[in-house]
């Protein structure tokens, strides 16, 4: 009876919170209801790891009834139509854009908004006919407004590239001109394929709006022969698939529980902690696949836009900076001291090997994929992913040198954010130079924050600084502004030089 009273009180508080929108209240209520169900069965050790914060499922809910991330292959529906949605094949640009809008509305996700909007140039190029640049810009401007106004989630992500084409150029022009939070945007960059003009145009956009993010296409494409998309906070996932779940290990907490020296930690404690992550992942995946029946029923699967065998599961780590500091006795700094950088590489090597050795049911290639998780809003005093501690980042060259060596291990994505002085705005070629050098050094993805932009990256998604002040007064149309505001307060974003903070999102019910 007490539980029920508490549930009622939480629900009442949600429906009466003034600065949550109708949709935000609805989503939070659903989460509250899901959390009233029992969690999939876990060992006492795993349940304890969840409740004490060593491991976190990012509040995905107790009874997963949709995968965390879905990357539908929209080209199937544009080419063949959709029986479930009663759509004919697209026969022109307006058709294609309208059908995409319809499809987005019907794609589930952990946030209830589609996280992947497609490789827009590949999707739209077959349909542009003889439209000139002005016509493309006009179409995409309307489309961009639709996305920002109906998908108020900065994790929604469009991809373009690597080949230069009129749609990719139009996307960059329109995106920079509108400076919207949504959609987030990635350019797939292949130095041997992408034209200088296209990467140059992207750099000019970055100088204005800190978008697009740039993906090392040759490296990521080699990991995903079936194709891939970059979604959410720079997760690289298989096209026509996605990720069942994302469960993360707090390396700071893990290191704090070390029961011996560094070698002992790497050989014993870390594998034990990782085993708890795998157990939780497995329980969640089994519920999703075997009990919720999502993959048996959903039209995206039935119509060939999603393939169950292309779903991975993401093993997230975060708090590397603090873990290294704890293990080295509090003096050595990751990103600055070779000893600390070496230990970080060793930790990643161990986790990568553990992921490689542990079979997981219903997963692509029978395994999870390693992911540097970008944090959530209420992470305080712990650094995102495998990033160097916020505010302590060395200059770009040293920064790249410290992290490039382990980037290729993070199959399902890693992001380090590079702050550049505002003079990059007048010299966007410098952004291209740094990106080329970084990819040559082995970086998987590059993200910039240029000092002085109103649109800034908070861990990976975009927030308008001017919106944050407004939210505190009036509430926000965009869920991520709320998260950004929290991060700004927890991390002191505004007081810092061109520096960014860390987290992915704030999934918890607001009690």
């Amino acid at each position: 009876m007490d539980d029920l009273n508490e549930f009622r009180q939480s629900a009442y508080r949600l429906v009466t919170t003034p600065n949550l929108s109708y949709r935000q209240r609805l989503h939070q209520l659903a989460l509250l209801a899901e959390e009233a169900l029992p969690y999939p069965k876990l060992s006492p050790e795993a349940a304890d790891a969840l409740s004490t914060g060593l491991v976190s499922d990012l509040a995905e809910g107790h009874a997963p009834y949709r995968p965390r991330y879905l990357l539908p292959d929209y080209s199937v529906a544009l080419r063949e139509g959709s029986e479930y949605l009663e759509l004919e094949p697209a026969t022109g640009l307006e058709d294609a854009l309208t059908n995409l809008q319809i499809l987005y509305h019907n794609v589930p996700s952990i946030t209830s908004y589609p996280v992947y909007l497609g490789d827009l140039d590949a999707l739209l190029l077959p349909h542009i006919g003889d439209a000139d640049d002005d016509a493309l810009d006009a179409h995409l401007t309307r489309f961009w407004r639709f996305l920002d106004r109906t998908i108020p989630d900065a994790f929604s992500h469009a991809n373009i590239g690597p080949v230069d084409n009129p749609i990719a150029r139009s996307v960059l022009r329109v995106d920079a001109a509108l400076a919207q939070v949504v959609p987030n945007l990635t350019l797939k960059y292949d130095p041997n394929v992408t034209s200088d003009e296209l990467i140059g145009l992207a750099a000019r956009s970055i100088a204005r709006v800190n978008k697009p993010h740039i993906a090392n296409h040759p490296m990521i494409a080699a990991d995903f022969p079936e194709g891939y998309g970059v979604v959410s906070c720079y997760n690289t996932l298989p096209l026509g698939g996605g990720s069942h779940t994302l469960v993360r290990l707090d390396l700071k907490e893990s290191a704090a529980r070390a029961s011996g020296g560094i070698d002992h930690y790497l050989e014993k404690d870390l594998p034990e902690h990782a085993a708890l992550v795998f157990e939780i992942m497995e329980a969640r995946i089994k519920f999703l696949v075997e009990e919720s029946g999502f993959y048996d029923h959903h039209f995206l699967v039935k119509e060939g836009m999603l393939h169950p065998e292309r779903f991975t599961a993401m093993f997230g780590i975060f708090g590397m900076a603090e873990a290294v500091r704890i293990l080295l006795g509090g003096t050595s700094r990751y990103g600055h001291d070779p000893e600390a950088n070496y230990l970080a590489d060793r930790i990643i090597e161990v986790v990568d090997r553990l992921v490689d050795e542990r079979p997981l049911p219903h997963c692509r290639q029978g395994r999870a994929t390693l992911h540097a998780q970008s944090g959530i809003g209420d992470d305080v005093g712990v650094t995102a992913g495998a990033r160097i501690a916020t505010g302590e980042e060395p200059d770009v060259l040293d920064h790249v040198a410290a992290v490039a060596g382990h980037h290729s291990r993070f199959t399902s994505g890693i992001s380090d954010i590079f702050a550049l002085e505002g003079s990059a705005r007048a010299n966007p070629q410098a952004i291209v130079d740094v990106t080329r050098g970084a990819f040559k050094a082995g970086m998987r993805e590059m993200t910039f924050n240029i000092e002085g932009c109103d649109l800034v990256r908070v861990t990976g998604y975009m927030v308008k600084l001017s919106d944050i002040e407004k939210w505190k007064r009036e509430g926000s149309r965009l869920a991520s502004t709320v998260l950004g505001a929290q991060s700004v307060e927890n991390w002191g974003l505004l007081g810092r030089m061109p520096r960014v903070i860390s987290h992915e999102h704030d999934p918890r019910p607001r009690r």
């Binding site: 200059d395 770009v396 060259l397 790249v400 550049l420 002085e421 003079s423 990059a424 007048a426 010299n427 070629q429 410098a430 291209v432 130079d433 740094v434 080329r436 050098g437 970084a438 040559k440 050094a441």
Partner: protein, 283 residues
């Protein structure tokens, strides 16, 4: 392998403000101008080992040995106190470096660069070193993709430009005033050599840009801008121009009497140049 030695005030592996792209910048010590507005006065003169700075260094990074200053780069934390106490607008931190020392540094991060910029000081005063440095870059398979730019006051004789030109991609030249008398006031020298250099560089397609330092009420008067634009316009169309706003940062006290120009002041100069028909103005 080149062993030509230069006097290097500093070698900076990344700069976004010394030409297009990310650039390695080599600051060469010594300048033949003594500009009132100099923002880098410690690069003007060569150290005479007077040793005033030695006792001031809080980290004992400076010592006097056999009548010469010895500088310990490892011990230095860059507080620049020695520059503040220097009576001769110089620096005890200047190092003698070989061309190979510099290219060795550049090689480590060449993949991140568009090019190399030599500045100073007045880099063309060390012409042998400069020619050798750029020639070495152009001849090295790992470095030859880098563009070579020089940031200059334009006083080098034409014979000098003829030597440098084969290994130079472009010169960014300051024309600090429109009229000769103001040029002399601001720099201590007339402008005829500068104008001759600009003409020659333009004729030989080596003029990367001409720069005007905007000091409000000094270099942006009607008379000055008329004369400045008249000369630059006479070169022909499409010369890239850059407006730089005077800043107090780094300057000596005599420059602080001038205010830093407002955005409006820079806007006015830009508009004025547009009225003259210039289309290639950046700021």
């Amino acid at each position: 392998m080149s062993t030509t030695r230069g006097l290097v005030a500093s070698s900076l592996r990344s700069s976004l403000v010394d030409g297009p792209g990310n650039r390695h910048v080599v600051f060469l010590q010594g300048c033949n101008f003594d500009c009132v507005a100099c923002h880098n006065p410690s690069t003007i003169n060569v150290c005479d080992s007077c040793a005033v700075c030695v006792d001031q260094c809080p980290l004992d990074a400076l010592a006097l040995s056999a009548g010469r200053i010895v500088f310990d780069l490892e011990a230095c934390d860059g507080c620049d106190l020695c520059l503040e106490v220097c009576p001769t607008d110089s620096s005890p931190m200047v190092r003698e470096m070989t061309v190979e020392d510099i290219t060795g540094e550049i090689r480590q991060h060449a993949a991140f660069l568009s090019g190399v910029t030599a500045t100073g000081g007045e880099p063309t005063l060390q012409l042998d070193f400069l020619v050798d440095l750029f020639a070495t870059i152009k001849a090295d398979p790992d470095l030859k993709h880098l563009t070579t730019l020089v940031d200059t006051n334009g006083t080098l004789a034409i014979e000098g430009w003829e030597r440098l030109a084969p290994v130079l991609d472009g010169a960014m030249v300051d024309l600090k005033a429109g009229t000769p008398w103001l040029h002399r006031q601001l720099t201590g020298h007339g402008d005829s050599a500068v104008r001759a250099s600009i003409r020659w560089l333009h004729d030989h397609a080596k003029l990367a840009e001409v720069r005007l330092l905007v000091v409000e009420g000094v270099t942006d008067t009607e008379v000055e801008l008329d004369a400045w634009a008249g000369f630059v316009g006479g070169l022909g169309e499409g010369v890239p121009l850059r407006l730089m706003a005077f800043r107090h940062q780094g300057t000596r006290p005599q420059a602080r009497a001038w205010p830093e120009p407002s955005i409006d002041a820079i806007d006015r100069v830009e508009q004025r140049l547009a009225d003259y028909g210039f289309t290639n103005v950046v700021r």
